[in-house]
Subunit: 330 residues, 2 copies
């Protein structure tokens, strides 16, 4: 059945059923009223919004609806994690061509719910409308984990070490593989594809960083260099990172040789956390976070990001990350 | 200049400047970080999301960008008002074709800010991306005005009177005028156009209803009948409304003759509040609200909405409101 046959209200009923009753006892009104309503558990409330648009962020030939639902939520959870917050609720604003299959929308929601349940996030509201292309705009609401301690882009200070969670480059390597029609082993291809279509946001790690005493963080959505530049700009500092310390994803390193490093530096969509703090706090984070943490450089005076190779020389790079209108930016 | 020339980050900087610094002292982090952060002023937090999509909800030949910005925010403020809440913050998720003129986007934001400032709402975050058509998805965050008293669709009770704020039908009459190429006086045409492109949400009236002791409310976005049906369904009750009590907009009544009533009943996009309460509370609302309040019927047992004409006979109507995939619904 097409969504135009089921109609807006039938679709809302269906999706409300998949979303289920909110698990959080703090929710007073969920899906189905003019607005959602919940008891604040923390004095500090957080909100972020991000959208995925067909043929801009995804191609329906390359991603399953279920994966799309997962990813649309993942990118927003990542933003809350970057603030050191705990995600609680999501509002889903959907635009769908009338010819969209209802089963596909069901899968979209199932993918979203799969990730939401894993992190105790309730879908408490949304909106569905006709649109010329598939548009998924999510808002995620969260709360500060520890009273008063949120992580910001503007709190980096000279002398801080710079660190990242996990490994980088796999998500964009999947796109590079498709574009260049590279033949990788089935296993390698699957690893890259999973990184791109089903990223796992660092939901536990964000609040853990806040507990460790980290103050500055950003999530890696546009690419390490681009996002580090944004953090430096917001904090009015510069940065120096070392190519031989970048945690390039192992599959990317094996499959892309010399190109692996630039995929990791400028790739985008890794949804890892980049953070800065004094060396002692970075060491604490290395011990306490449930994922790899790698120190990759340091915050300096001045502005801009310098890339230093293993010989101590400055590296110049042309492409530094994604701009959603022009492709590569800055 | 086109948005594709200015780029995502240049556009974000520009729009952040138009949005300005948050006026609310409760905002800790506004535009420019991974998420917005604010101090909760009330225990009860509210959130709603609604989108306007080009050629589904608006035609750029018929509405100015400034009006579009106003309207995109207005429809969301209306949802918070329907809960009896006070709107505080907005997050703006924009999808724009690369060829969109930067000046148009500036106007869109200016229109949004004009309404936002009037009601002390701060734009504290958002997201911009390329899209095949203009897409404006807003999330508005609000708080309960009076601790514990929010209005819901599910609180209508048998014996309640049904009332609406303001007058109905002008917004859809503007569309009818365009479609049928009617020649109305300049003044009449302007009144209808204003109702459609620049609706003023009942931001003060929503919390006032809560203070009066009203428990059940819905905002009129899809049309009186359609929205009253939704309220009845959520409350598991029926309703009876009387055609001679419907506050049909004066311009619509003058310009559309016999068709005026059905425009008011099934029109949509009035953004008035429909609410139900015992007669005494409706009387209190009539005295205390800063706008006209009209009692139009009563809540009954059973289900569905009956329309009774001036002779006491049931009226049958085919078109009962908007479905965003199929046009007229239910």
């Amino acid at each position: 059945m097409k969504v135009s046959e089921l109609g807006e209200f039938g679709l809302i009923d269906l999706l409300a059923e998949i979303a289920g009753k909110p698990k959080s006892e703090s929710v007073i009104i969920g899906i189905g009223d003019d607005a959602a309503c919940w008891h604040a558990e923390s004095d500090l409330q957080l909100a972020t919004t991000d959208a995925l648009i067909q043929d801009v962020h995804f191609d329906l030939n390359d991603i399953a609806w279920r994966e799309l639902g997962w990813k649309a939520l993942a990118v927003n959870l990542s933003d809350i994690a970057a603030m050191g917050g705990i995600p609680r609720y999501a509002l889903v604003s959907l635009g769908l061509p009338g010819k969209t299959d209802v089963d596909d929308v069901r899968d979209l929601y199932k993918g979203m719910m799969q990730l939401a349940r894993g992190f105790d996030v309730d879908i408490i509201g949304g909106n569905i409308t006709a649109a010329p292309a598939v548009m998924i705009s999510l808002t995620v609401l969260g709360e500060a984990a520890t009273q008063g301690n949120i992580l910001t882009r503007s709190a980096a200070a000279r002398g801080d070490r710079i660190a990242v969670t996990g490994a980088l480059g796999a998500s964009v390597a999947w796109l590079a593989m498709l574009k260049r029609r590279l033949k990788l082993s089935q296993r390698a291809a699957k690893a890259l594809r999973d990184a791109h279509v089903k990223p796992t946001p660092r939901v536990a790690e964000g609040p853990a960083l806040a507990r460790c005493g980290v103050k500055a963080s950003i999530d890696l959505s546009d690419g390490l260099l681009s996002d580090l530049e944004k953090l430096c700009e917001a904090s009015k500092v510069g940065a120096r990172i070392f190519t031989d310390r970048i945690p390039v994803d192992a599959t990317v390193r094996r499959s892309f040789g010399d190109a692996a490093l630039s995929l990791a530096l400028a790739g985008g969509e890794d949804y890892e956390l980049l953070f800065t703090a004094p060396a002692k706090i970075i060491d604490r984070a290395k011990r306490e976070l449930p994922c790899p943490v790698t120190a990759i450089g340091e915050i300096t005076t001045g502005s801009g990001v310098k890339i230093i190779d293993e010989k101590g020389l400055d590296v110049k790079m042309k492409n530094r990350g994604w701009d959603h209108f022009g492709g590569r930016a800055r």
